[in-house]
């Protein structure tokens, strides 16, 4: 099983080692480590590129002004995606061609809301028909705790675009309730109706929640995906599906 969206806990003495421990104690085998806009975890991403670790792939941020990442960095095997803000999508230029031809992924960010992002993605799809696009964080269903009224229409449009993968991640960020964040579950259910499990990834957004509940958050996202299969529903709600959290530190 893979964590399809994580940062790293930069307050740890060794953020990579700390996260490896999280993975092993949660029985998660692999992870996509995404650069933060602050760039504070970039040195760790560079470390993963320079000394590849088989359980990690990385997604650096696209920064058009300084022209980062470099073409060489983007071509590294450990780099499988590029994180791009909605506002910067029209500036991708040659990098869009590079992503498409190398079969690497575009990881989008909806800083202006999902509707603006989808408009840009429709435009990009006309130029890059084979580009693989990963939309994390449930497609940003809420803005600052308030339901985004454009979300439903935007994700319906999104579901018409071929080759889109949706991430069930950042659950805590969008919730107005404590764990297990039942108020967010309907958004995941709607995405599953529209996209099916074949176009889904499960991620954590670590460490942007209670860090010691890493396994619980991954398990929650997995549960939301699996419970849409009718035969699985009674199992996931039953005693058979026991939550084994790693010990608190």
């Amino acid at each position: 099983m893979m964590d399809a969206y994580t940062h790293l806990d930069m307050s740890a003495a060794d953020p990579i080692a700390e996260f490896q421990l999280r993975l092993s104690s949660s029985r998660i085998e692999r992870a996509l480590v995404v650069e933060k806009w602050s760039g504070d975890n970039l040195p760790c991403l560079e470390r993963i590129v320079n000394s590849p670790l088989p359980e990690f792939r990385i997604a650096p941020c696209f920064r058009p002004e300084p022209g980062l990442p470099s073409a060489d960095f983007l071509s590294e095997d450990a780099v499988i995606a590029l994180r791009v803000k909605t506002a910067d999508l029209p500036l991708l230029g040659e990098m869009g061609n590079s992503l498409e031809s190398s079969k690497k992924w575009l990881v989008v960010h909806a800083e202006k809301g999902i509707a603006a992002l989808v408009r840009q993605l429709i435009s990009i799809r006309k130029r890059h028909q084979q580009l693989r696009v990963y939309v994390p964080h449930l497609g940003w269903p809420r803005k600052e705790g308030v339901d985004d009224k454009d979300w439903e229409g935007a994700i319906m449009e999104l579901s018409q675009i071929r080759g889109i993968v949706i991430g069930i991640s950042a659950i805590a960020h969008f919730s107005r309730e404590p764990f297990p964040h039942n108020d967010v579950a309907p958004f995941a259910s709607r995405l599953l109706q529209l996209f099916s499990s074949e176009c889904l990834a499960v991620g954590s957004d670590y460490p942007m929640f209670e860090k010691d509940r890493y396994a619980a958050y991954m398990g929650l996202a997995i549960k939301w995906v699996y419970r849409t299969v009718p035969e699985w529903s009674p199992i996931l709600e039953s005693d058979c599906f026991s939550n084994h959290l790693p010990p608190s530190r």
């Binding site: 949660s26 079969k103 990834a201 398990g219 084994h244």
Partner: protein, 48 residues
Amino acid sequence: MSIGGYVLSAAPNISTGRFLTCDEGIRAKASRMVKNLKRIEKAWFPVS
């Protein structure tokens, strides 16, 4: 079967008919679901 810190148990005391955990059909369904999630994983970790 273990997924993300959750353990799907098939212990004898729960295979009483109330739960279908051990049913082969359920196992096949589970296998397909995992395969779908794994498809994306394989795209990102092709050599693993």
